[in-house]
Amino acid sequence: MTQFTLWDIFRNLLLATRWTILLSLVSFLGGGILGLILLFMRIGHNRAAQFFSKIYVEIFQGTPLLMQLFLAFFGLGLFGINVPAWLAAGVALIAWTAAFLVEIWRGCVESVASGQWEAAASLGMGYLQQMRYVILPQALKIAVAPTVGFSVQVIKGTALTSIIGFVELSKAGSVVTNATFQPFTVYGLVALLYFALCWPLSKSSQILERKLNVAHRNH
């Protein structure tokens, strides 16, 4: 029986971490873009667009990410479309991330006092100008910390994609366990790697929050 050194295990997990990072980045960026589009639909004046955005958020926040992954993976397969695991994982995570970012950002936009809109309007600015020059610069500042904080959820969310066979950190963990029969060591390292990815993000979210708040108070 082959003996695996700790380094063998760690090296294999580290290689799989690439895919966790890549999937997280794709989900976060894709979700960010989709989220931005949904945000403008939600806060714009078009009733139908508002409604669509609202329903979208309710559906994706109201169902487990795992079900969304299954539906993306098996659902499309029912129609004869062969979906590779990486594609299903990417699509589902982008859609899921967008649903949460919209709500975070909508909260940020709405937290800008209504008097700001009124002051901008009374100076003759149109809706888009009010948004661009007065509301968004303020909302953006509020949004930074919670958005960075949410990226941690996205990274942890990628672990679920192991169930549909996408080989990222968690899946690599179970593969390596099956070969080495050292589950505690392997999953311990897996957890450590997740922590190494997530902790700097949540810490920087805290720092950003404090820093931007101070900036808001004193400029």
Binding site: G115, Q116, A119, A120, A121, G124, P137, H216, R217, H219
Partner: protein
């Protein structure tokens, strides 16, 4: 023709009618104080004049610009009337100068150097030339309100609407804001102000409008309105009953 013509204006919030047919014509250079109990509709009337609230019926026009609910007409109207708010509503992410420059640059497309020159001039006019680079939260309430006045003036409005502009200020800061308003009145600016400063209304205003239950209940020159109120409601409001 009057500068501001308010004709049979009605406004409801749901089943609650707050303006029940307001008629008021304001001549150029007039300084009008609107007084009345809270809930009498005085702030709503002011907000209707520059389209922050839509009206249910009647008409409002300012120097020929009609109040209509589309963005183009609203913009034309708002370029003629500036508004000052109780809560100042300065843009916190911009300096005092930036606040005064923004709408000139964005709405009027004034070139940056010219907009900045006007901003300096307007801040100087309200006595805050030195605070050009200060952010709103570095300024006192009275200073913030004066920046808000400078910001409105920079758009060269024909008339200014003042919505209880001293009500959120500490007593010792009220004077500096009222001094600015007084100087504007002296220069011939048309002013329509909702106020609780009765002494100021008596000293500076050309007419006083007493609103009660969504109607203009009594109107006249300040000396007449304050010294010789005709209706029991106004007498009660002035504490004479």
């Amino acid at each position: 023709m009057s500068l501001i013509e308010i004709t049979e204006v009605r406004k409801s919030f749901g089943p609650n009618e707050v303006l029940k047919g307001i008629n008021l014509d304001i001549e150029p250079g007039e300084v009008i104080a609107i007084i009345g109990k809270s809930g009498s509709g005085k702030s709503t009337l002011l907000r209707c004049i520059n389209g922050l609230e839509s009206i249910n019926s009647g008409s409002i026009s300012v120097a020929g610009a009609q109040l209509l609910p589309d963005e183009l007409h609203l913009k034309a109207l708002r370029l003629k009337v500036g508004m000052i708010f109780q809560q100042f509503n300065l843009f916190p992410h911009l300096t005092a100068g930036g606040n005064v420059i923004l709408s000139q640059a964005v709405v009027k497309k004034t070139p940056k150097p010219e907009a900045e020159a006007i901003a300096r001039q307007m801040l100087d006019r309200v006595g805050l030339a030195a605070k050009f680079d200060a952010y709103p939260d570095e300024l006192s309430g009275g200073q913030q309100q004066r920046v808000a006045i400078a910001r409105a003036l920079a758009m060269r409005p024909i008339a200014l609407l003042c919505d209880e502009i001293t009500s959120a200020l500490d007593p010792e800061l009220v004077g500096e804001v009222l001094a600015v308003v007084r100087s504007l009145a002296a220069e011939g600016m048309t002013l329509l102000m909702v106020t609780h400063e009765m002494k100021f209304a008596r000293d500076v205003c050309s007419r006083v409008v007493f609103m009660h239950h969504g109607k203009v209940h009594e109107i006249g020159r300040p000396e007449a309105v304050f010294a010789n109120p005709q209706t029991p409601e106004l007498k009660q409001f002035l504490g004479m009953l």
